[in-house]
Amino acid sequence: MTLLGRDVGEVDALVTDRYLDSLLAGRDAYLQPAHGIDEAVRLVSRRLAGDLPRFHPSFRFEERLALRLAEAAATMRLPLAAGGERDATKAPVRLRTSWADPLEAPDDEEHVDPRPFLVGGAVAASALSLAGAAWVAWRRRGPRSPMARAVRAAHQARAGQALRPAGHRG
């Protein structure tokens, strides 16, 4: 261990890194061999900086890929042009989470059943339930008017006759 707890290899690497910064920035101040850098490393760095080529693909490839990216970008823009696809696609999820069971799995698609005929069925079921509730209420409510008492008495008499055996009628 030497400088500030770094080992020799790290210090050498740090010196090399500083040299490369200067070399690649094109500054000559660090290009002299007096900065403690390994001579072989310094020479090979200079050589690689000058000799390693940079490549460019063919212009045909460049334009073909540019066209493909433009097409991909256009498909990404279409939903936006239609009025903001993100809100539209997320809307069913937001509606569902607003009144669904909070313990329900948020992505459980089995509970999401938007079949249209359920609407008609619900209306019919609701109408039957309302009729039943009215009938029960009418049966339990005590008679409040003479006319109602007469109707109720006639209904009970007719029901009693229906329940009696045929031989006992008359």
């Binding site: 290899g9 790290e10 050498d12 690497a13 740090l14 090399t16 890194d17 500083r18 040299y19 490369l20 910064d21 200067s22 690649l24 920035a25 660090y30 390994d38 072989a40 490393v41 020479l43 090979v44 760095s45 200079r46 050589r47 690689l48 900086a49 000058g50 000799d51 390693l52 080529p53 940079r54 490549f55 460019h56 693909p57 490839f61 460049e62 890929l65 540019a66 493909r68 990216l69 433009a70 991909a72 970008a73 256009a74 990404m76 823009r77």
Partner: protein, 217 residues
Amino acid sequence: MARPVFWRSGAAAEAAPRVSHLDLDRPLVEAARRDPARFDALYRRYLAPVYSYAYYELGDHHAAEDATEKTFLAALANLDRFEERARPADGDGASTFRVWLFQIARNVVANERRTARRRPTQPIPENALIADPLDVEGDMIRRDDAGSAWRAVGRLAGDRRRALVLRFVDEMSTAEIAGVLGRSEGAVRVLIHRALRSVARDLEAEPESKEWRAPRA
């Protein structure tokens, strides 16, 4: 602005330009997010660096083109996931679009290698140095010194080779290379130092590369 962690060591006097360099792409990225068609500007800026990296890694023009195409298509499709991190509040994992793009390129190239069943340590093939007579790049590569340097780098193993290519060809900082390779800056410094020593030994052993020892003006 970004933090001193991005400063190139030994260049404290020029710290500000180095930092602003890392934020260079922010306007273009924001424009591309608003309108995907504006991604073209980022594409034109980084086409050659990404292609160069892929070509050094794969050693084949067609494979490099495939990798380049996949890299940019993936970048465009996932642009919303990119997070600009060259801000003071961020930690050491600072990132820029260039680092993010090269991370994608690195993954794409790794997949290409797996698909082609290439060995990661395979040197760049000799026939890749024989280029079209009308090809300016090929003409440059045919120079003996360039060819031997290229071969020596191609013989390096995995991350050593990548680190040297990113440092010398794409001129990335140590911090940026660390982001691309997923290593610490210290590890990248040591990696590059050892890679340079390895290349130096390799070039010394090459019989046709005697003249490289004499430093050029």
